[in-house]
């Protein structure tokens, strides 16, 4: 998408960025208060407040798994989404919805991730996706009786269960493309992916052995099973980020990957 008077690398506006981060943080604070306040209000009204010990007993196992993966999510989504990451996290369904929707919006707008352009476009795309989901779930409740036969059909359930591979299939070839958006082209980019691909393939192949060696299989009650790629992909992404980043940087510095910026107009 060509913007009016578009500079080669779009400028950033610190004031707007600061305002969006303030709004995002306030939004997160409000969402946390709501999420905690709801059960508290109901518990008080029903005179049915559970003990703090019982809440912690059930919440700690979840926190052990979801805090590290939450850290990973913030680490790899923020460079792509900018300050829209707050809205995406509050409204959830990131990997199967917000991320591809934002990726699609960045792609059709022909801009690069990590720019102010990507920031505003991501925000509009993530907001649209959130509103549509809220509207659809609301409509689903209103129309639950007529919709139930359709949404519980075996074919619909099968298609829904395969939403992740369908999504990754539709997106995966973009990882090898030389077009980085905004008219920026990276020739030889595929070279930087070979080592990370082999490394992840190796971890997947030896998943059972590595899981047993690190006692991760017993930790999640699946002794003898490979659990690294199925239960802890967030950890693998955290470990792979510097591998992919620095492999790419090394090849770029050695001149094996060439970047061509669009000419100024």
């Amino acid at each position: 998408m060509k913007r009016n008077k578009k500079p080669v690398i779009p400028h950033t506006n610190e004031r707007h960025m600061n305002a969006m981060h303030r709004l995002g943080r306030a939004g997160v604070a409000g969402a946390i208060l709501l999420m905690l306040g709801m059960p508290l209000a109901l518990g008080l009204y029903f005179d049915a407040l559970p003990s703090v010990g019982k809440i912690l007993q059930a919440a700690v196992p979840l926190l052990v798994v979801f805090v590290p993966s939450g850290f990973a999510e913030v680490l790899y989504y923020t460079p792509i989404m900018g300050s829209s990451v707050y809205l995406a996290l509050i409204t959830g369904e990131i990997i199967n919805l917000k991320w591809p929707v934002i990726n699609n919006a960045i792609k059709i707008s022909n801009i690069s991730p990590g720019t102010e352009d990507a920031e505003v476009i991501s925000s509009i795309a993530a907001g649209t996706a959130s509103l549509i989901v809220v509207a659809l779930v609301t409509a689903c409740i209103v129309l639950s009786i007529p919709l139930q036969p359709f949404l519980t059909m075996p074919a619909v359930r099968t298609a829904s269960a395969n939403v992740f591979p369908a999504l990754f299939g539709a997106m995966v070839l973009d990882a090898f493309k030389s077009d980085l958006g905004s008219g920026i082209r990276a020739s030889g980019r595929w070279k930087s992916l070979l080592f990370p691909l082999l490394l992840v393939a190796g971890v997947t192949f030896f998943d059972a052995e590595l899981s047993a060696f690190l006692h991760l299989d017993t930790l999640v009650g699946q002794a003898g099973t490979g659990v690294i790629m199925s239960v802890y992909p967030g950890f693998v992404i955290i470990l792979m980020l510097p591998v992919v980043y620095y492999t790419t940087k090394l090849l770029y510095k050695k001149g094996k990957i060439h970047i061509r910026l669009p000419e100024k107009t």
Binding site: V74, N103, G169, A201
Partner: protein
Amino acid sequence: MTYLDAAQHWLTYAIVVAGICYIVFLTVFHMRKSWKRALEIGYTKKQLRKVVKSSASYTLIPAIAILVGFFNLAPTLGIPLSWWRLSVIGNTVYEIMAADIALNASGVANVAEASAKEFVLVMSVMAIGIMGSMVISVLIAKKIQSGVFKIRQRDPRWSALGNSTFITTVLIVLTIPYFFRVSVALLTLVTGAAVSLALRPVIRKTGLAWLNDFSLAISMLTAMASSVMWTSLLA
């Protein structure tokens, strides 16, 4: 009061409606600010409407899976809490897992035996267990974004390439495991990639800009539909 009485209580509905109003308000406010900023930096309303239209159409396909999730959640959580949980952070698998852990902690086998206290426990545990990423985002998201912008100012070439590594890493880690077993999931993934590849020359030759805007959605929808065929072939 039983678990299901609490789950379907008018107050539970009222609180959930208030929460959803907050989410809608926050989203609209966020979008409005970004929309204004986009116009300031040179985008036209037509270009922004195109982003909205394409994002809306792309949302519809994964949203089917979310709606299917509603019918999985509603028997355990009741209608209002399912409505709330599908509108905020989390996903169907997480919600079911959290409900199961919370009920186990109470020594209750299923919701039919549970009381309102267990319902409040389930609601609390679901909220606390998933909010790590939100808290972490408040602490580090701005620092990460500032770092990204600094690299861009120093070396725009490397910045463009370096930024692409984040998406690439996620795709590599999540995609590779599918290739280790011939399954419906693998065939679905390959179908999605094949359709997306096949659409490229069509878009280039016909110059159909709208097709480019919807190519991801078309690839994904075709792949999901193909999973039904692969399931029956592999059965």
